[in-house]
């Protein structure tokens, strides 16, 4: 036992160290490069001289973007891990109940109505929450089993909103709005400002904290309805908490940065291989790994080419081959 705990502890430390290194590198790298000395000075750690624009670059542009990548990476991965446990299926991603597509529709609608960036986030967030609420209510009145009807209701709601998005695209102005909608749907952190990070913070804390506190109990949901109940778990209440929290995290993420796929599916998968299935380790590890992963991908998105590559495209480019590799090597089921 101690040997195993020690091994996981070491892996967690390595992950945390990599994350810190990534944070520092991300803060310094960019078209406007900051030296380590400048960074230290800007953070108030030394008195070294700094260029006049440096403070603006770091605090107005780079740090909000880093914070958003970290929060969204952690949020999507934690939500994915929680949903995978609840649905007893390692192939589930955080948009299973339609939160992402509905948020996408909300954003498209916002753009169509000429809302500003913040307004777009807000409509996206509201639609994301509303869709899951709708799916949940439908499942409560359905005759089939709770889990199955929830997934089916999620699919229906999801395809409804995706049709809605297509309709908005159809009627949108092709000069301004349509490109904006298309670009937004591809997902990007390029336009993130301080205000967006603040907007993200409340749903992030409200969604992640209960999941972290209840994370051991998420294990019990993976046993299935009957077993969990016979172990004394109020599954209906616990399931509702997981849905609400994971939806808050997903909807807020999509609202700020658009559709970023794969993260919530791949990261919990990799973490299960590295840290085991127990949510006591899996959930914090997924959040940390997800934060580091999205930060890395966003760095590539802004540094690799002179222009910006939408991050949603990159996560798919990275995620799809990784997933294939998992399928081919049977990673998730490997013996330990």
């Amino acid at each position: 036992m101690s040997r195993q705990t020690g091994r996981y502890g070491l892996r967690f430390l390595i992950l945390a160290a990599l994350f810190l290194a990534l944070l520092l590198a991300s803060a310094m790298l960019g078209r406007y490069r900051l030296s380590p000395a400048e960074l230290a000075a800007l953070l108030g750690l030394s008195d070294a001289p700094v260029r006049s624009g440096a403070s603006n670059v770091l605090f107005q542009i780079r740090l909000p973007r880093i914070a958003a990548a970290v929060l969204i990476g952690a949020a999507l991965s934690a939500a994915g891990a929680a949903y995978q446990g609840m649905f007893r299926n390692p192939m589930v991603s955080p948009d299973i109940l339609g939160a992402s597509t509905a948020a996408g529709f909300g954003a498209a609608l916002g753009i169509l109505l000429g809302a500003d960036y913040f307004g777009i986030s807000l409509t996206a967030f509201v639609f994301g929450l509303g869709a899951v609420l709708l799916a949940y209510l439908v499942s409560r009145f359905a005759r089939a089993s709770e889990t199955l009807s929830l997934i089916l209701a999620g699919m229906v709601v999801s395809s409804l909103f995706s049709a809605g998005t297509s309709f908005v695209k159809l009627v949108a102005d092709t000069q301004e709005q349509l490109p904006a909608i298309t670009y937004w749907l591809m997902g990007s952190l390029a336009a993130v400002k301080q205000r967006d990070v603040l907007f993200l913070l409340a749903p992030f804390v409200l969604g992640l904290l209960p999941l972290l506190l209840l994370r051991w109990r998420v294990n019990l949901l993976t046993l299935g309805e009957d077993e969990a109940k016979s172990l004394g778990v109020n599954t209906t209440a616990l399931r509702l908490v997981v849905i609400v929290c994971a939806t808050l995290l997903t909807a807020a993420s999509v609202a700020v940065c658009g559709m970023i796929g794969w993260v919530g599916l791949i990261v919990p998968h990799l973490c299960r291989m590295l840290f085991g299935s127990d949510y006591r380790r899996l959930l914090p590890a997924s959040a940390l790994f997800g934060a580091a992963f999205l930060l890395l991908v966003d760095d590539i998105a802004r540094l690799a080419t002179a222009g910006e590559i939408p991050i949603g495209i990159l996560t798919a480019f990275v995620g799809a081959p990784m997933f294939l590799w998992l399928i081919l090597t049977g990673g998730g089921r490997r013996a330990d």
Partner: protein, 257 residues
């Protein structure tokens, strides 16, 4: 922990599954629930575990009426040992057994040192402490069944309800699992288990409950009620009960003719 079932009726819509089921088993007994597929064995167990709400009748566990109990309170009285299926996620044996502690922990609590000790004790009691760090996906079906049994012990309920604990096990593992269960009844646990093997009832179970089309067609001490006639009623096959002389004494067996 004795259990008393009075006039239990359950139906899915208009389809009755259990009709006027009544029986009562004493503390420390081991009861085999026999019956053909679809006789209502699983439904009965799900009613006893509070997973289904019967339309009529009453279940009393110890001194408590089932209808008034919360999930947590019921979990402290009765534990469920399901059939060992292949798991979705790869938990270690120890983590699996620890899940049995949930009814004794408050909502935000996670198992600590004390719970871990309890889980290790349960594993030792069943002679599988050496498996603690293994993944449940990498142990045999018999071992997995014992792990689920250990999880039920950690739950600290005195009534164990087992759904075909020997299904999918090889000949040796069937006997090993059943002997462990018998040992538990000697320590005061009350056991209800469903089985498709009359031999298991004859060999290990003090009591037998025979269900047919949702009704009790026989209940009592095994050697009184388990007859060739009962086997014919339940399964529609001719069988004969024979007594074999073995070095360990006479053993009864049911042989289809």
């Amino acid at each position: 922990m004795q259990i008393e079932v009075k006039d239990l009726c359950f139906s899915y819509g208009a389809q009755p599954v259990l009709e006027h089921v009544s029986f009562s088993v004493p503390e420390g007994s081991m009861t085999a629930v026999l019956g053909p597929n679809g006789a209502g064995k699983s439904t009965l167990f799900r009613c006893l575990l509070g997973l289904l709400r019967p339309q009529r009748g009453q279940v009393t566990i110890g001194t408590q009426a089932l209808g008034n109990l919360s999930r947590r309170a019921l979990a402290q009285l009765a534990a469920y040992v399901p059939q060992a299926a292949s798991p979705t996620f790869q938990y270690t044996v120890l983590d699996t057994v620890l899940m049995g502690t949930s009814s004794s922990l408050s909502l935000l609590e996670r198992p600590g040192r004390a719970e871990q000790d309890r889980a290790m004790q349960a594993l030792e009691r069943l002679g599988i402490a050496g498996l603690a760090d293994k993944s449940i996906a990498n142990i045999s079906g018999g071992e997995r069944q014992l792990v689920l049994l250990a999880r039920a012990l950690v739950q600290q309920a005195r009534l164990l309800i087992m759904d075909e604990p020997t299904a999918n096990l090889d000949f040796g593992n069937q006997q090993r699992v059943l002997s462990q269960i018998t040992a538990l009844t000697r320590q005061g646990y009350t056991v209800l288990l469903s089985t498709h093997h009359p031999d298991h009832a004859l060999r290990y179970c003090s009591h037998t409950l025979a269900l047919h089309n949702g009704r009790v067609c026989a209940f009592g001490e095994t050697d009184q009620v388990l007859t060739a006639g009962l086997i014919e009623t339940l399964y529609g096959v001719h069988a004969e009960l024979v007594t074999l002389q073995t070095p360990a004494g006479p053993v009864q067996s049911c042989v289809p003719i």
